[in-house]
Symmetry: C2
Subunit: 245 residues, 2 copies
């Protein structure tokens, strides 16, 4: 029963060369690995480990499963894409931990990873070189009015915006609505970077002025970065100067 | 003359276990490694590599040096702490590239890393589980009035705040001023996380209500995370629920 633990680990954007040695080590020591199917598929299989795939809507149940395994003395790793602390599994683990005081005594660790906006920024140039924000455009967990208000305030603050989950099959209109808000508050030549499937064989990267961005340019694998007033191009890159304006 | 390149690489927060294999590979192939002295000191020395240490105020000159080396056919890596795209060397490289069209044709790549706020969040729990922003409190490169305005708008947007460079010897009053602004706009029980020297032997981590935070609790190695209205504690952790409020 003793010696169990739960790690919530970030696999980075997709390439195995972006998985930290810390996460590799935890996977090496694990008895059980849990995750959304496509993320779990990135973990090399071993005969002596158990793999527990679940749907991406089952985050709380996956978190409970991981905590129950740790409580039973197993060494469990829940894998997330990117960083587990950014719009991913770490918050779900702490949420379910509230309901069960015994779980709060367990050995639970969050192992950071390269989150999508850092990978996207690296491939675009350096758009996050000045103050920025990260906003999840999914309205599964918050009303659209909150998202819209945050977009407006962030533009007023002249923050660069990293937009996660711009569009999915269940929310085809999310990115179009965000673009409409941005067009009301930003000049048409504002630079927008679109980074899809970064550091995978399907990678595509481009940047263009806000006026030319179309809603169908983003899908569920795209990370969108909207520059601030100072974001500019140099060669094939976009970047935000350190002075920021 | 051919085959030269420049990589701008993130070493992560401090522990070698958080350096990605991609960055390790670039360092392996490099002929020259450049960086601020304490970051360069984290790179294992090899007899067949040249090391170029410089002061942390010499970012533009370091960037030019790296580009000149690549132009001369060398394989150069400029190392940053954390992620090179977040308040670090990548933007400096693109800035100096503007002045020299030949540099825009070089093979220049940004290699992402685990930035300080992700490492800090992992050790605190999951405070970045909902929308958040990253603000550099240094007023070396922007006026304090801009920082203050951003803090206020970010609180109005109910974003979690990751505050980089809260305080240094040259700016002892920065964090005190930020706290004064936050106290005007947040309730006294708002959770604040202070993460110093994360993933190093000097690591210290704590969280406390805004009302109890003192200016001398942060120094130049501290990353401060100010929760949003929903940020809460569970066990020894703080986290922001995915619904965010």
């Amino acid at each position: 029963m003793s010696g169990g633990w739960l790690c919530v680990a970030g696999l980075g954007p997709g390439d195995a060369a972006l998985v930290t040695p810390q996460v590799q080590q935890a996977l090496q020591e694990a008895t059980d690995v849990l995750g959304y199917g496509p993320y779990l598929a990135r973990v090399p299989r071993r005969a002596d480990q158990a793999y527990h795939a679940s749907d991406n809507r089952e985050e709380l149940e996956r978190a409970r499963h991981g905590l129950r395994l740790a409580q039973a003395g197993r060494r469990a790793v829940i894998v997330s894409s990117g960083d587990p602390g950014v719009f991913a599994m770490a918050a779900a683990v702490f949420e379910v931990m509230e309901s069960e005081p015994a779980w709060q005594q367990l050995d639970v660790r969050v192992l950071p990873g390269v989150t999508a906006m850092l990978a996207a920024a690296a491939r675009l140039g350096a758009p996050l070189g000045h103050d920025f924000c990260a906003i999840n455009l999914s309205d599964n967990l918050k009303p659209w009015s909150v998202i819209e208000r945050r977009l407006v305030l962030a533009v007023q603050a002249d923050l660069v915006l990293a937009l996660y989950n711009p569009r999915s099959r269940g929310r085809p209109e999310g990115f179009a609505r965000a673009l409409a808000v941005l067009r009301q508050h930003c000049e048409p030549q504002r630079w927008v970077g679109l980074a899809r499937a970064v550091f995978t064989p399907q990678e595509s990267i481009r940047h263009l002025p806000l006026a030319h961005v179309q809603p169908d340019m983003a899908d569920m694998r795209t990370l969108v970065i909207v520059g601030n007033r100072a974001t500019r191009t140099v060669g094939r890159y976009i970047y935000t100067p350190r002075r920021g304006g």
